[in-house]
């Protein structure tokens, strides 16, 4: 049901050719990309494009995510809203302002902690004894319900994430170590990998939210004052353990990614172009991986799970039926 994302790494030009996309790379290659078969387009190289190309992408509702130097996320060109619904936005903002906000935030943080815990449980006994962390995470998840302010809730979440990241050094094959979660810029290879993938999860959520009439800037856990799409940050928190962290462990432990795939300069550490290619390929495969969904009675991809999570939130806002943030059940 879901279409694949497409990544362009080369430098060159993106243009419209009749009713399809054409990519001319600087090394003289021409490729055609059927626009109807693309979910989201990712530009990693230096790409020239014009309004005709954007118009075509717009017609097919394809968002474009642009990355700049060293693959820092620059921003997104989002197609004109196919979904416009005033009452969705009105209800979203109302929910932010009334008691629904705390309940939605509870759901998000509970699911986020649940999914972190599921990762640790998977590696417990395989990689070490994580029973203390597992207990601590359960306890924090239970504390969520009785936490009555968003600030305190964020503290609980931060605490959980700290406990969680502490296990990374044991799970990751040497010489990878997270030590401390650091970004802007990431200080070592493990941080660089986590940051890069978290960025990808964020764009995946941006695309999913765009398919609904929800406003991406009004989040429930994160304050809307931030410069980024705070609703995407909320949803991304749920899916980071599922889509990013598990992949970090796999890539490192199977040695698909080694320290040679990173370069350190100035005061940061980032993936090389080859490294990014490997990581993105695996990330896309993760998005396409499917599992049997108990309520939908069919197999759904991880990418669809992000979409259904957003649908569930939207439905909650408009109908009052409960929002069920995605908790790993498989």
């Amino acid at each position: 049901m879901t279409k694949p994302n497409h990544h362009i790494f080369a430098d060159g030009e993106l243009s419209r050719n009749e009713s399809t996309l054409r990519i001319d790379t600087l090394d003289g290659e021409t490729k055609y990309l059927p626009v109807e078969s693309v979910d989201s387009l990712y530009l990693h190289g230096q790409i020239d494009f014009n309004t005709r190309a954007l118009g075509l992408l717009n017609d097919h509702g394809v968002p474009v995510h642009v990355f700049g130097w060293k693959d820092y996320y620059k921003g997104s060109y989002l197609p004109k809203r196919g979904q416009v619904s005033g009452n969705t936005v009105v209800e979203q903002v109302r929910a932010y302002d009334d008691k629904r906000r705390l309940r939605i935030a509870h759901q998000v943080i509970e699911a986020s902690i649940h999914n972190m815990r599921a990762n640790i449980r998977y590696y417990s006994s395989r990689k070490g004894d994580f029973s203390t962390t597992l207990d601590k995470l359960s306890e924090l998840k239970e504390r969520v319900t009785s936490t009555e302010t968003i600030d305190n809730l964020r503290a609980v979440e931060g605490n959980a994430r700290k406990q969680y990241y502490r296990c990374f050094d044991t799970i990751l094959r040497e010489p990878f170590a997270l030590e401390r979660r650091e970004y802007n810029p990431p200080s070592n290879e493990a941080n660089a990998l986590v940051s890069f993938l978290n960025g990808m999860v964020y764009t995946t959520c941006v695309s999913a939210i765009r398919k609904t009439a929800l406003d991406p800037t009004v989040g429930f856990v994160h304050e809307p004052g931030e410069r980024r799409f705070t609703l995407s940050l909320d949803i991304a928190d749920i899916f980071k353990p599922i889509l990013a962290d598990r992949l970090v462990f796999r890539l490192v432990n199977r040695q698909q990614i080694t320290v040679d795939d990173f370069e350190s300069d100035l005061d940061g550490c980032l993936l090389t172009e080859d490294g990014r290619l490997t990581v993105l390929q695996e990330y896309e495969e993760t998005l396409d991986r499917t599992i049997e969904h108990p309520r939908l009675n069919r197999k759904v991809s991880f990418k669809t799970l992000v979409q259904t999570d957003v649908y569930s939130l939207k439905k909650h806002l408009l109908t009052g039926e409960p929002y069920q943030a995605t908790e790993r059940w498989w």
């Binding site: 939908l296 979409q307 939207k314």
Partner: protein, 183 residues
Amino acid sequence: MSTGDRIDEYTQEEREIGTRPATPVTGLMVQYYHVCERELWFMSRGIDIDRETTNIQRGTHVDETSYQDSRRSFMIGNRIQLDLLDSGAVMEIKVSSTLEKPARMQLLFYLWFLKYVYDIEKDGVLAYPTERKRESVRLDERATAEVERTIIGILDLVAEETPPELSKKPYCDSCLYQDLCWM
């Protein structure tokens, strides 16, 4: 207010130039009402889903490519879109006859609309080109009553604050709204 009064009032609002009923009923709404009331409620709130699925594309394709020579599309009141055959009959095209009743009600609604809003009497043809099947549809007394019950039903349903409760139907698995409904 009795059902008859409400229908009279509705028809009057449709007839008068420059006015519009508070809830303008469309053919699609009539169809949804007989398929799934929950779907209709979602649609009435602008809760829409991805319409680029293969099923929708197939339906659009069959509709756009069938009997092109002998029919013309009309838009009435900026809202009701229907196809007229050369013979003068109103035609409704569907990919399959599995949801026969909703399709027939949609067509009957068009016939009702033409007759009671515009004083134009027409017969209808329900066509399933992929099944090479056609049936004629007439707006008799029974059908008129059923269309009017449907209109009232739609007005009442759309006025509800919350959607009708979830209930599993045989075609839920192929419904566009399943990801919204069951999540």
